[in-house]
Structures are given as C-alpha cells and as structure tokens.
C-alpha cells in the first residue's frame, strides 16, 4: 500500500510540475531542435529526394533539426531519461511511462493552430492523455494487419484463427509451420483480442487489461500457436525474407512489410479480420527540460500543417493523424493509399498500451507488463 502511495505522489508531483511548465505563448525560435524518433520518421530528403519534411521547416523557422533515432520504445525511454532532447515520437507502450516518469510535459493545445485538424478519435487518446491533460501531439498511426499469401488464400482470411488454431488452408495443406507471430510480449494482446470474440465467457474488455484467468487463457492459446509457428518475427526484413523463402503464408504484420512485398511483385495482401486488430499510435511528446520549447511548438504545428503527414504515411506505410492529408494533396498520399494503410479500420483497432497492474478491473487486478515478458519467453521456449 505504501508503494502505491509513493508512486501516486510521484505521479501527482510530476503532473503539477508539468502544469507549471506549460507554455502560454510561442516566441521566436531558439535556432535548434533535437528530436528522438523512429528510423524513417523524420526525413530530410537524404534517403530519397522525394521524401523531405524538414528542409522547409528549417527555412521557415530557423530551427535546425537534429534527429537521434531509436530502435525500440525502451531506447526512447532511456534517451529521454538521459535528457538533452526536446521531442520524442513515442509509441503507446512508451508514452505513459514517460508521463509517469515526469519526463514529458503537458502540451498547450491552444498554441497549436492545427490541433483541430487531428482526427477527433485520436485527440483524446488514452495513450497520451492523462486526466484530460494532453502530453503530446498525435504523430502517425497504423494497424497490425494480417498479411497473407494470395496464392494460398484466394479470398482474404476472415479470422485470425489461421494463425492461432491448426487447420487446413484453402490450398489443402495444414497451416502448421507456415504461419508466424510477433516476437514481442505485446502479442499476448493479439491472443486476448482473439479470445474476446471467441470466448466471450472470459469477459475480456480490453486486450491490455487482463486478470489472472483471462491472462492464463491467452497464454494457453499462445502455447497452442507455438506448435504452428516455425519462427517468430522480430525484424521486419526477416519477416519479408520468410514470406519469400521460408514458405510462410500468413502472419500478423505491419503495412510496411505488405507494401514492400507487394512492391516487389510478391503475391501478398493484407486484411483486418473480423476480430479486429491491435495497432500502434505514436505521439510527439515535449521533454520536461526542453531547451528549445519555441522551436518544439513550431515543429508540432509543422507536423500537422505541412506535407509531413501525407508524405510520411506513404514513406512508412502508416496513416496520417489529420484525415485531410489523405485528400488535400499536401503530399503524395491518396485516398486509396490511406485506405490501404488502414484508415477505414480505425474502429476495429485497439491501440498498444502498456499493461499495468492497476487497471479498470481494480487496483492490482491486472497482470503487469513485466510478467507478460517473462511468460512470453516461456511460451516461445515451449513451456
């Protein structure tokens, strides 16, 4: 009990601290801006000339942008703990940790004129909004789709059961050894989501908030899946290779891989089955000790009002947080492109959130994330 008290105190302290630091006006730029971002998230035309959403910002504001890329959410948290950065493009499994740790400050949305352009369904996302306070600006989102081989499946699979239960696929052969699953504990949520549809008696309301019984059922399903999976995927490019050379025909995946494989002429497509899908939503968050807050606010506005949303969604295979970017020609994205990347499936998506012990089922009622990690290691090891 004491621990809870302490942690709530820290939270409250962090929150009040952030409230004090909140800006009321955006002044002139400080000349510099440093951002921690996913690889490929902030492009200045150096990888491909057609993809540049930094140069114009620098010219217009005089804020020189420097980017530090991070490959995992944990690296991002570690970098932000180190300090010295202004912004971070945090995913849902990192954002609340940053808020709880007091590493990011509340953002005054009044200072971001384009805030109203953001998809209303994202404006108050639980992964960056705490007690009605916004700790950042939505950056981009995407679903974890079911990727499948179109030669094996003439019609898109209707259910995730193709990766969870042993069955004969339309080509007459078993799915054993021909499907993959994500090599990260967050995949337990996919199993839970499958159970929401197929075992309603478990009473799962959110795949990220599982009590002991629900959690156990999800693990049992994953043990069954272990029998079907030859290798779990971890790296997008290894999965691409496995679809080409390893005879894999179905797996949870990202639009990124689907786009690359389809671009190479591989017989691959993706779908969101009837059970729905999990997904990720990233947020630009402002460091508590940001040295260049004016440039940071200018950048946050820039992320919503420039070609960034449109071009980034083409580049990364994600979906803009400003729906207008799909149609207004601000970049290369089109309505078809947005649909392909998952725009119409928003309601079927449950976004990644870090599982914590204190959930809507009660204090300490849910299985926390660190147990997801150790148990998933066990499942993959055949336990």
């Amino acid at each position: 009990m004491k621990k809870i008290l302490i942690s709530t105190t820290i939270l409250a302290f962090a929150a009040s601290n952030a409230a004090v630091a909140q800006m009321t006006a955006v002044g002139d730029g400080e000349g510099e801006l440093s951002i921690v971002a996913w690889p490929g998230y902030i492009e200045r035309g150096e990888t491909d000339k057609a993809y540049d959403w930094v140069t114009k910002f620098e010219e217009a504001t005089g804020c020189k942008v420097s980017v530090k890329t991070a490959n995992t959410s944990d690296e991002m948290v570690a970098l932000m703990n180190e300090g010295g950065f202004d912004l971070v493009t945090a995913s849902g499994d990192a954002s609340l940790r940053l808020v709880a740790g007091g590493r990011v400050q509340a953002v005054n949305t009044d200072l971001i004129p384009s805030w109203s352009k953001i998809d209303e369904r994202l404006q108050n996302g639980a992964w960056f909004t705490v007690d009605g306070t916004h700790y950042g600006v939505p950056y981009q989102w995407g679903p974890n789709v079911l990727m499948y081989n179109t030669q094996t499946f003439p019609e898109a699979p209707k259910s995730w059961s193709v990766v969870f239960e042993e069955q004969t696929l339309p080509d007459g052969k078993s799915n054993k050894g021909r499907v993959q699953a994500y090599d990260g504990p967050i995949h337990i949520a996919d199993a839970a989501q499958y159970l929401m549809a197929h075992k309603p008696e478990l009473g799962i309301t959110s795949p990220y908030e599982l009590n002991e019984d629900q959690y156990k059922a999800a693990l049992d399903l994953l043990r069954q899946q272990r029998e079907l999976v030859g290798r779990y995927w971890h790296d997008a490019f290894i999965q691409i290779d496995d679809f080409k050379n390893e005879g894999v025909v179905a797996s949870g995946s990202w639009p990124f891989q689907v786009g690359l494989l389809a671009g190479e002429g591989q017989p691959v497509a993706s779908t969101i089955p009837e059970e729905g899908a999990t997904g990720w939503a990233d947020t630009t968050m402002l460091a508590t000790d940001a040295k260049h807050p004016n440039c940071a606010y200018k950048w946050m506005e820039h992320t919503l009002s420039s070609n960034l949303q449109s071009d980034l969604s083409v580049w990364f295979g994600s979906v803009p947080v400003t729906p207008a970017s799909c149609t207004d020609g601000s970049g290369m994205q089109t309505v078809e492109g947005c649909t392909a990347n998952g725009l119409d499936d928003f309601d079927k998506i449950r976004f990644w959130t870090t599982p914590v012990a204190n959930c809507s089922q009660g204090e300490g009622a849910c299985v926390p994330y660190y147990r997801w990690v150790s148990d998933y290691i066990g499942v993959i090891g055949g336990r």
């Binding site: 944990d74 050894g177 030859g230 050379n245 390893e246 300490g364 926390p368 990690v373 148990d375 336990r383």
Partner: protein
C-alpha cells in the same frame, strides 16, 4: 634557440624538479603511468561488473513492476523456474555441442596446416581460415539464413540429388528438428559452428606447430605407428591449444544473442533473455542474474582449462 641563460625559466625549473623527483622516487612515475589503465580496468570494467552483480540481488516488485532495492536471493530463485531453467540448459547444451563439433572439425584442418602445408599453401590456409573473419558477422548470418531457408539452396540441392526425404527425416527429429533448417536448432548449431570455427583452428594450429619434431621421431623410433603417435604424443601435447580454442567457442556461443534470433525457432538463449528482460521488461535484476550465469560457468571452465595448461598456448 635563445642563448643559454644562467636564469632558468620557471617552466624549465618545474620540469627539472619533476625529473629529479622521478629519479629519486621511481615509484611515483610508475604510479602516474599506471593510474589511467588501472582506473579504466578497475572502475569501468570491474566496476560495471560489480554494479551488475549488485543489481542481481535486487528484485522486482510483482505488484507494481518496480525494482525493489533491497537485498534478496529471490531473483536467483526465479532462475530455477522451468522457463528460465530451460534457457540456461538450452544455451549450455548448445555451447557444448558447438565446441565439440568445432574441435572435431578443426583438428584435421589445423593438423594439415601445421604439419604438411608448406610455403604458399600455408599462406592459403591462413587466409582461408581468416577470410570469413574479415566480413561482417551479420552479413554471414543473414547469408546462412538464405542458404538454410525452406526454399533455399540446401533444400534445393537435397531434392535435386533425391535426398529430400532424408532431409525431411532429419528435420522431423523432435526438439532439434523443425519446419526447415533455418527454423530449427540444427540450423542454429550449423551457423554457430561456421562462425566460431576459426577461433578453434587458430590456437589449435599454434599448439600443433609447437609439438617438437624430435618427439614424433622418437615415437616412430620406438615403433609406434602414425595413429598411435597421434593419440599418445601429438594429441596430449596439442591439448592446451584445443582447450584454448574451446574457451573461445564455448564462451562466444554462451553469450551470443544475434544468431539464435535470426536462425532457429525463436526459443530464447541466455543473451536473448538478457536483452529482452533488461529492455522491454525493465526487469534489470533478472537480466543481471541471467548475465551472471555465463560468468560463473566460464570461471569454472577457465579454472579447469588452467589446470590443463591451456594458457600456455595463447
């Protein structure tokens, strides 16, 4: 140059005093020279190891997932949980198998290179062994992934010579088999042996070269045949080199986390477990406890190796 002045400059005076001091007390100079490397070893190297060890005696609060900074052996107890114990067993078994296979494969190569290869051929041998070490480790592992893939060259060749059913039979062996070579332990094992083999050959060759010719001649004079000489003279004398090589292959396999991640059936090895526990889980204590295991195993291994005289061949 200025004309020699009778009045030494202050800087020069200090330098002269220092020289005098060092001459009178050589210990001070030694201490000054040794301090930086010792600090490096002591603080950065040993210090971080101690910090690691320290962490492993903390535990994670099962309720909040926060690290509890109180001394406990609970975390080490967790290593005995079936899923964690599996990881240790899997890693040690793999390391032992890889070491054994490397030794068996390396011996003929090292033997030939040390005893029979002359002049240009010797250079070719050295080059052949070293060459794979010059290309990136990752490139090699990814290349192997393609070679061993279900639709890769090995399967293709096996089918071509009518050995496809043999390959299937091998892959259907429980535990070590799998859906394809690249998703089975056989594949992981093959790549480990390939990647670490040079580290076995080189010390082995060095120790074989040190076996005196006179001993072999003496053995022959006493009537021993080639095999007998190999078994009773060459092998015992080369043993330190073999042990030295095995230290490399064993410890490198014990700590690797890239190969089993790319090739194999995704079951965790110690390195992978440490990586995911300290990263995504924030369970630093358990990660630290896992990291201590290879250290303990290697300490025992090195103690035995030292007895067998392995360090004479390094």
């Amino acid at each position: 140059m200025m004309p020699a002045s009778s009045q030494p400059t202050p800087a020069r005076e200090i330098a002269e005093r220092l020289t005098a001091l060092f001459w009178k007390r050589p210990g001070i100079l030694l201490a000054l020279l040794l301090a930086p490397p010792l600090l490096w070893l002591g603080v950065v190297y040993v210090g971080s190891l101690i910090a690691l060890l320290w962490q492993s005696f903390y535990s994670i609060d099962p309720f909040s997932g926060v690290v509890v900074r109180e001394f406990t052996l609970k975390t080490y107890g967790e290593l005995l949980l079936p899923q964690n114990y599996d990881i240790i067993l899997r890693t040690v078994t793999m390391a032992a198998a890889v070491t054994l296979a490397s030794a068996v494969l390396a011996f003929p190569i090292a033997f030939y290179a040390a005893r029979f290869a002359k002049g240009r051929w010797k250079a070719v041998f050295y080059l052949g062994v070293m060459l794979p070490l010059w290309s990136s480790y990752l490139v090699k592992v990814y290349a192997w992934k393609l070679i061993l893939a279900k639709e890769g060259i090995v399967t293709w060749a096996a089918n071509g010579i009518g050995a496809g059913s043999l390959l299937d039979a091998v892959l259907s062996i429980p535990v070590i088999g799998g859906n394809s070579l690249s998703t089975s332990f056989i594949g992981t094992f093959t790549v480990f042996v390939y990647v670490w083999l040079p580290y076995m050959i080189l010390p082995m060759q060095a120790s074989l070269e040190r076996v005196p010719k006179s001993m072999l001649e003496a053995s022959a004079d006493l009537g021993a045949g080639g095999l007998r000489t190999l078994w009773s003279v060459t092998l015992p004398l080369a043993l330190p080199g073999i042990i030295a090589g095995s230290i490399f292959t064993f410890s490198l396999t014990l700590g690797d986390y890239i190969i089993p991640q790319i090739i194999g059936n995704s079951a965790n090895f110690i390195g992978m477990a440490v990586y995911s526990l300290q990263g995504t889980a924030g369970n630093i204590p358990l990660a630290a406890a896992f990291a201590v295991i290879p250290i303990l195993i290697m300490l025992v291994y090195l103690a035995i190796a030292r007895r067998l005289g392995a360090f004479d061949a390094l």
